[in-house]
Amino acid sequence: MGIPSAPLVTRAFKDLAILNAAKRGMPHERICFTPHPVWGKTPEEVRVYVEGPDPVSGKPLMKEIVDALTVPLSDDEKKSGIVSVSVGPPTFTDTADNLQDFYLNNGYTDFLPIILPTEERVDAMMKGTSHKPDEVVGKMAAGAYPPWSYNVRQAAASAVMAGCRPEYFPIALAIASTGIASLFSSTNSFAFAMIVNGPIRDKLEFNYGIGALGPFAQPNATIGRCWTLMSKNLGNGGIPGDTYLGSLGNNLNYNNVVIAEHEDASPWVPFHVQRGFKKEENVVSLFRGLGVVPGQVARGSSANENVQFDYQMSDLFSTFTGFFGALIIADPLVAARLKEQGYDTKEKLFDWLYKNTTQTVKDYKSRNYAYLFEYPQALQGREPYATWYKLPDDAVIPHFPRPESFNIVVAGGQTNAYPQAGNLSYGVSVSIDKWM
């Protein structure tokens, strides 16, 4: 912009702010810091911040700000040019035990033991694809930082580490090609999910029956883990305080929510067919959000009557943030009951949920996500937020912005009619076959 600026950041994000500025080309940016947090403080409390010291430098905050705008630049601050960045040699040689420690201590793992990505194992992994070792697969960004790029060989190393077999590798490559990291820098501790569709579910022996979401099959376990290892290694995600800021973290990040759809037991078209693929194609679809909860806790879980799953879901979703969508993970018994209730298409169910999961404008405006992400869009005239923000506080509006906010996938062993649901929004569906 060519105008002197003084960015003001709360102390909790000191490392992030300094590193982000450096990675974007301003390693000496004059960042000023306030105590943390500012959120929820009164004007009087914030005045104390303004009249007090910068908690990082110890100097008076306003002098720091004025100096940031007026003290002449040093030679370092005027520098231009290109700085190359190294992540070390292409290989490491040592004993297996030392390498296990080395990979763990240098942040390459999820802190569980790994299969060492020896050259032989990485070569074997790459036999699972026809693509060349040096072919660029994609780019992945850890939060707000510029994205890193990676090739087939680099991706294969994480696939080996996660315990994948070579025949699983095309799924890992398909995920990597999206550039979506399963570790996200937000303070929200996001969770991620994938749906696998197509004949590859049976060929690789994914579990979509009893315990479909549990640790009961190698492809479900290792491909999910691989996504997180690729996010750490290919995109440099998951470094606490730097590329990861989730306050509590999320246990689902170990191997993510991996759902192979029980296509034959579903009364509806498979998820990937909804997204324009043919049934015989192999596809992986990715979701992002806050996590997964059980459906049994919602109202409508009657002991003596057939469960009204539509009401049950609507009740559950009223606790979700509408910013993310809602992904229903339905046991085939749940899906069959929904069809009996008249939902012979997914769209009919989504339309009902959209119209019957509601909130008042007052409640809507009080929500954190609405203020942070949707109010700014309302100011720009984007719907439905612009209309919602003009309505009176007692007006009743949908909890989610559109029927397409909902998704459903069928999986499970039919031992009981229990659904689960994720406050997860759909991202993208990509071909696995392309990476075979």
């Binding site: 912009m1 060519g2 105008i3 002197p4 600026s5 960015p7 003001l8 709360t10 450096a22 080309g25 301003m26 940016e29 943390h36 947090p37 500012v38 959120w39 929820g40 403080k41 004007p43 911040y49 004025v66 705008l69 007026t70 005027k78 231009s80 290109i82 700085v83 190359s84 960045v85 992540v87 070390g88 292409p90 290989t91 040689t93 040592d94 030392n98 390498l99 420690d101 080395f102 990979y103 240098n106 060492l116 990505p117 020896t118 050259e119 990485v122 707000a144 510029p146 890193w148 790029s149 990676y150 090739n151 680099q154 190393a157 994480s158 290892l229 290694n233 440099n236 730097d242 100011l379």
Partner: protein, 123 residues
């Protein structure tokens, strides 16, 4: 701190901790494993904008990114300027869109009408 260090694998936890491991001398008990890291982009250093001689008589834009409390903080800074540097003109603006979205129209306005920017993220 050097830009290269800042831009690489910067935290203490990420620095190689066992230099012997990186040695490329294979022995009978040694194995060679692939570095799993992706390839970071090079960093284009950006010279910082020239500073002002003084803020007296200048216009300072106070830009709210939209994080909770940023507006409260910036209004207190506005009040501080009124009390302590009354010759500074302050202009409060909320950046358009969610916090991560660019706002080129505001940057144009600041370049045309302002002399300096204080941007607050709150949180």
């Amino acid at each position: 701190m050097s830009p290269a260090l800042l831009a690489g694998i910067p935290t203490e936890a990420q620095k190689p901790t066992n230099k012997a491991t990186a040695a490329k001398v294979a022995g009978p008990d040694k194995v060679t494993a692939v570095n799993p890291k992706g390839t970071p982009p090079p960093i284009q250093l950006i010279p910082m904008a020239p500073r002002l001689d003084t803020l007296d008589g200048k216009t300072v834009y106070l830009v709210d990114t939209g994080f909770h409390g940023s507006d409260v903080l910036l209004h207190q800074i506005e009040a501080w300027f009124s009390r302590n540097m009354p010759n500074v003109t302050t202009v409060f603006k909320r950046k358009a869109g969610p916090y991560a979205q660019d706002d080129p129209d505001l940057w144009k306005e600041i370049k045309a009408k302002g002399n300096a920017v204080i941007m607050a993220v709150g949180h």
